[in-house]
Amino acid sequence: MRRIAHVLVTIGVLLSAFGYCTPYLRLRTSLGPGSLAAGTVTLVLGLVLASARPAARRRRWFTAGVLLALGCVALGFGVALVASDPDPARPRLVLGVPLRVAVLWYVAGLAPLIALPLVYAATFDGGQSAGTASTDR
């Protein structure tokens, strides 16, 4: 699992770096934001997998919660990037804000805000300390 996490972290950093390079490379304008969004989500997923204790990783709550939360973030970014408002001056409002903003705020923002702390508490192993391997070099 550590190897997979490390690969994800590396891919996340490379995608993010590529995103920042696109303005200099004169590539399609949507390529940069898309790459940065994908890089950020991949990097965060890699960091979570690298740091979660094996006992926590074995619990279904953990896998389901992390994938759901980061999936929501990716979905929110994707909708904001790909969709467009037909009439920005008179937008269709959902929960008080234009549709694309609503997907971003409530799906990419609110859903993980509620889900992740609960997953953390449910999979917390108070008796186990962090790996000493990390301090022993």
């Binding site: 550590r2 972290v9 950093v13 993010s16 770096a17 995103g19 920042y20 696109t22 303005p23 200099y24 949507s30 940069g32 934001p33 940065l36 969004a37 950020t40 965060v44 960091l47 979570v48 690298a50 740091s51 939360a69 973030v73 970014f77 904001a80 990037l81 408002d85 920005p88 001056a89 008179r90 937008p91 409002l93 929960l95 008080g96 804000v97 234009p98 694309r100 903003v101 971003l104 705020w105 990419a108 923002g109 609110l110 859903a111 993980p112 805000l113 992740l116 702390p117 997953v119 953390y120 508490a121 108070g126 008796g127 300390s129 962090a130 790996g131 000493t132 990390s134 301090t135 070099r137």
Partner: protein, 472 residues
């Protein structure tokens, strides 16, 4: 009424400072509050330290000026507190127990067995703290000027003297208990003003419709930013949250690590409440300007003071100004304490030395660092939000790779850590200085903090991998 509420708030903070100063007898009391906090105190204190003048003054100003794209600064809150819990809380706490560590550079020094890495991390923290202090002194000056008509310069000095007095006296112990009080004030004030903002604007839907009709770009997901710039905020503030020493330092103070189970939940609720003002006031002021009820702001940082003084009741305005002052002072105190610990403990340790009287040296260091922050605040002439970005970015680029990746990656090496911290320091300082002096401009969406963070992450991974392959 506003001034009386502010004075009452100041008296409570002063009383906490006096109480804590009497209980601060050793360097460990001064720098780590003697590891005696419960999870509620620690989480709310961490929230108060995170939510600074940047969030209460700079943030609403940014929403007013660039639209909903500014929300990408607070959107990562959805993941950052839990991510910090998973990635950093327990390993840092374990290092503190096994090695008697009470600073973040100290933890880095132990992890990589490198006084050089420890010293470089301390240099990065002190440099970022001075930038962040300037942000917060500037914001405090704006608030005191708005309430007491002191003028910006005198407001900066007045706020700095009050905050430094309780920081020098009570150190981290005063800071944490003042943070607890201030955190509660901030959450209550932010929630109350958010409700007033919604009421003033006629509800979220009404505000959205009116602003969109007058300024459609403002109400798009990215506001006036390019998508790359908005997502860059998310990247820098989301991933960068893992390198904020004033928050991470709080893990050293927790009495029982098993209580960490509830840290993300408490911190998330507290942060969400305290950041309602960030979005609410920015939208409400924009709506009032669109309606013609307020003249356009010449300085975006005036959004919060202008809204409170024209739209809220004097009692609520006093409470919110106290909340703003609380946000600023709690952050300043935390920064002063961690920077003083770097100067007193970590920099001498990098040269193999120890300080004989850490308590006295800590107090003197606090004064010197505060003076540097005031000097930058008085002379930089920059917006509150952008000085805050500099501080956050430097913390992130110097500390995220060595902590967030390095604490969990057995193949991370000392050379990788040193190269990464140096990269973060050099890239941030060089690019920010060159950009400030207008020697060049970044293309839309690229900024110094983001480039520095990506560079330091890449250098950390590359140097550690090459180091291992070379058999070191």
């Amino acid at each position: 009424v506003v001034a009386l509420v502010m004075l009452g708030y100041g008296l409570v903070v002063a009383a906490i400072g006096v109480w804590a100063a009497r209980r601060t007898r050793t360097g460990r009391d001064f720098f780590a509050a003697s590891r005696r906090l419960g999870v509620w105190t620690m989480s709310i204190a961490a929230m108060a330290a995170t939510t600074s003048g940047f969030a209460f003054i700079g943030g609403p100003g940014l929403v007013y000026s660039i639209g909903l794209g500014a929300v990408f600064i607070v959107l990562p809150l959805a993941i950052t507190t839990t991510l910090t819990g998973w990635v950093l809380a327990r390993p840092l706490r374990q290092l503190a127990e096994e090695h008697e560590v009470f600073t973040i550079p100290g933890a880095i020094g132990v992890r990589y067995r490198s006084p050089v890495a420890q010293g470089l991390a301390a240099v990065a923290i002190v440099a970022a703290v001075i930038g962040y202090l300037a942000t917060n002194f500037l914001a405090l000056g704006i608030v005191l000027d708005a309430v007491f008509h002191t003028g910006l310069g005198a407001g900066i000095w007045l706020g700095a003297v009050l905050t430094v007095a309780y920081s020098v006296g009570g150190g981290m112990l005063a800071g944490v208990y003042a943070d607890l009080f201030q955190g509660v004030v901030m959450a209550v004030a932010s929630t109350a003003v958010f409700l007033v903002a919604l009421s003033t604007g006629g509800g979220l839907s009404s505000m959205s419709r009116e602003i969109a009709a007058a300024d459609p770009v403002f109400m798009s997901p990215w506001g006036r930013l390019s998508p790359l710039a908005a997502l860059s905020f998310y990247f820098v503030f989301g991933v960068g949250a893992l390198g904020q020493p004033h928050v991470l330092h709080k893990f050293f103070m927790l009495r029982d690590p098993r209580q960490l189970r509830w840290y993300p939940a408490i911190m998330t609720v507290a942060m969400t409440l305290s950041l309602l003002l960030f979005v609410g006031v920015g939208l409400a002021v924009k709506t009032l300007v669109v309606r013609g009820a307020l003249p356009p702001l010449s300085r975006p940082d005036d959004a919060t003071p202008r809204f409170l003084l024209t739209q809220a009741s004097p009692l609520l305005a006093g409470l919110v100004f106290a909340g703003v002052a609380a946000a600023i002072m709690s952050t300043v105190n935390s920064f002063l304490s961690i920077a003083a610990a770097c100067v007193t403990h970590d920099l001498p340790a990098a040269f193999g030395r120890t300080v004989r009287d850490p308590l006295r040296r800590g107090r003197l260091s606090t004064l010197a660092i505060a003076a540097a922050g005031v000097a930058v605040a008085l002379t930089s002439n920059a917006l509150v939000a952008f000085l805050g970005l500099f501080g956050w970015g430097l913390f992130a680029s110097a500390l995220v790779p060595v902590l967030a990746i390095g604490l969990h990656w057995p193949r991370a090496t000392r050379s990788g850590a040193i190269a990464s911290i140096v990269t973060g320091l050099v890239v941030t300082l060089t690019l920010e200085s060159a950009s400030y002096a207008r020697w060049f401009t970044f293309p839309a969406g690229v900024n110094a903090s983001a480039v520095a963070l990506v560079s330091s992450l890449a250098v950390f991974l590359a140097v550690s991998s090459l180091d291992r392959r070379a058999g070191r």
